[in-house]
């Protein structure tokens, strides 16, 4: 594992998409080796913030990594969902090495590589998925596989977009505990976007309330105060709002 675990320093970050200001002059420090949650209403720019950190959207301002800002970290990204054709024959084990291995998969994988992949899949409880075609994975299984990629590749910063969006309610708790365990083990900087305030309260050490601008960045007890939540989601919202939301999402998908 790398000895440098960088934090992210964001200064005057603005992102404009299709003429609309999605993020407006954001200043934010994301502490290293801990879990930071980003919460906010729909359209608040949460996913856009992750994409800006990844360099996937054009932005103005600066995003610096590490103590002196010059270190370019190895970032892992777990998106909300991926659209993969069902008939795609690429197996999960293949998928896990696509970005890290140069030698083409025509010649198969070596024993040590298979062992490394198996142990990463085992760590996230997805050993049984190793030879499954990725087109046949559910949303939750895909996120688990990407988490295995994080484990296998020792990433320094991990960005998770809605980590429970593809998982049923019973699997949600287990998945979040797993993420927390792995983060504690590997000590990477974890940034997660979540609708679910109960997940945030339970697992995050630092919470960022975002609605185009940073309204608050503090520890969960302070950031999730009723006043802050009302300011972020509107006065009619309670902390339980998010649980209903997750259930609604799940119902909508079925």
């Amino acid at each position: 594992m790398s000895s440098i675990v960088p934090s992210i320093a964001i200064r005057d970050l603005s992102v404009s998409l299709g003429g609309r200001n999605v993020l407006d002059k954001i200043n934010l420090d994301i502490p290293s080796a801990t879990i930071t949650a980003i919460i906010g209403p729909n359209g608040a720019g949460k996913t856009t913030l992750l994409k800006a950190i990844l360099g996937l959207v054009p932005y103005s301002g600066t995003i610096a990594f590490g103590e002196n800002g010059s270190h370019r970290p190895r970032i892992g990204y777990v998106p909300q969902s991926m659209e993969i054709e069902r008939e795609n024959p690429i197996r999960v084990a293949d998928f896990l090495v696509l970005t890290s291995r140069i030698a083409p998969l025509w010649f198969g994988m070596g024993r040590s590589e298979i062992a490394r992949i198996d142990s990463a899949l085992d760590r996230v409880g997805a050993m049984h998925l190793a030879s499954r075609p990725i087109g046949k994975l559910s949303g939750g299984e895909m996120q688990r596989v990407l988490l295995a990629k994080v484990v296998a590749e020792d990433r320094e910063i991990v960005l998770l977009d809605e980590p429970v969006s593809g998982i049923d309610v019973s699997g949600e708790k287990v998945f979040c505990e797993l993420i927390e365990e792995i983060q504690a083990e590997k000590r990477f900087t974890l940034v997660l976007v979540s609708h679910d305030l109960s997940v945030v309260a339970r697992h995050a050490r630092n919470v960022v309330c975002l609605n185009r601008q940073v309204l608050c960045a503090a520890e969960p007890l302070v950031a999730l105060s009723p006043e802050n939540i009302a300011r972020l989601f509107g006065p009619s919202q309670l902390v339980t709002h998010s649980d209903t939301h997750t259930h609604d999402d799940h119902a909508a998908r079925n």
Binding site: I90, T99, L105, W106
Partner: protein, 288 residues
């Protein structure tokens, strides 16, 4: 150059003697059948290898647009009084880069970008052909592998080495980009370089295949074996081998069948690949 040519000639003679010894059949015994047969043995797997990545990245329509631009390229070359083949390659590469640029930078989807470039290049071709009274279009539309000359083989071999060499270094990352380009970028893949280089590679393979298979069949040569290989495969590695194997079986089978049926060779090869694709789909449905 002389040294390379004489070496290629002696290699060619050696391979021809090998073919006589290995395949003592009437369809391969005439000297004029050996060159096209060798051409097909080089071209089919090369096209299928590129096709494996192209199909994974949903680039079938992109390949189709490039094959149509070949016709315009040739017409432009004739109109400008320059070497038609050279202009065909240059024009094909320009169209490939333009589509990739549009797709990466404009707010249009891949099929719209391809559709626009396809229409424009065909329209330009029609205008140029009408102006130059270019009447010898059949060879480009339908192609004929039987017209392959010995000198074409050297070029095809060079292209095959480039294609397999490039894919040996980029195959895994190209598959990732094909699955989800943004995810690939997020995980540190330089999609800019890979996407532009691969589009150029497809353009060169398409242009190289035009003389053998014709504008109308090039896409089939690249896409159909890869589609069949994908249905038969159980993983990223076997997807590659299955596609190459299907292209060779279809290539050899179609070549022999066309000799006995007295049918167009390129068309028969593609029909053979199509038959294997049909079988692969049924196999897939049964396997589940």
């Amino acid at each position: 150059m002389d040294w390379a040519a004489s070496n290629l000639n002696s290699l060619y003679d050696l391979v021809c003697r090998g073919l006589d010894a290995l395949l003592p059949f009437s369809w391969i015994s005439p000297a004029f059948m050996k060159t096209p047969f060798l051409m097909m043995l080089i071209l089919c797997p090369t096209a299928a290898a590129v096709g494996t990545v192209a199909v994974n990245a949903r680039m079938s329509f992109f390949t189709e647009a490039l094959s149509h631009s070949a016709f315009t390229g040739v017409a432009l070359g004739i109109m400008m009084g320059l070497h038609p083949t050279l202009i065909m390659f240059a024009f094909g590469c320009a169209v490939a880069l333009a589509i990739t640029f549009l797709r990466r930078n404009a707010t249009v989807s891949m099929d719209t970008a391809v559709g626009v470039m396809l229409s424009l290049s065909v329209a330009l071709g029609v205008v140029v052909i009408t102006a130059t009274k270019f009447r010898n279009a059949d060879r480009f539309l339908f192609g004929d592998v039987l017209l392959t000359e010995k000198s074409d083989l050297g070029m095809a071999l060079l292209l095959a080495v480039i294609v397999f060499g490039f894919l040996a270094l980029t195959y895994n990352r190209l598959l990732m980009i094909g699955l989800d380009a943004r995810l690939a970028r997020a995980w540190g893949v330089n999609t800019f370089i890979y996407e532009y280089l691969f589009s150029l590679l497809v353009a060169v393979v398409v242009m190289m295949s035009v003389a053998s298979a014709g504008v109308l069949l090039v896409t089939a040569l690249i896409i159909v074996p890869a589609a069949a290989g994908r249905s038969l495969a159980r993983g990223a590695g076997s997807m590659f081998w299955c596609s190459v194997a299907v292209s060779l079986v279809a290539g050899v089978g179609g070549f022999i069948a066309s000799f006995y049926l007295n049918s167009a060779t390129g068309g028969t090869i593609v029909l053979a690949a199509g038959a294997i694709f049909g079988i692969s789909v049924i196999y897939r449905a049964i396997r589940g």
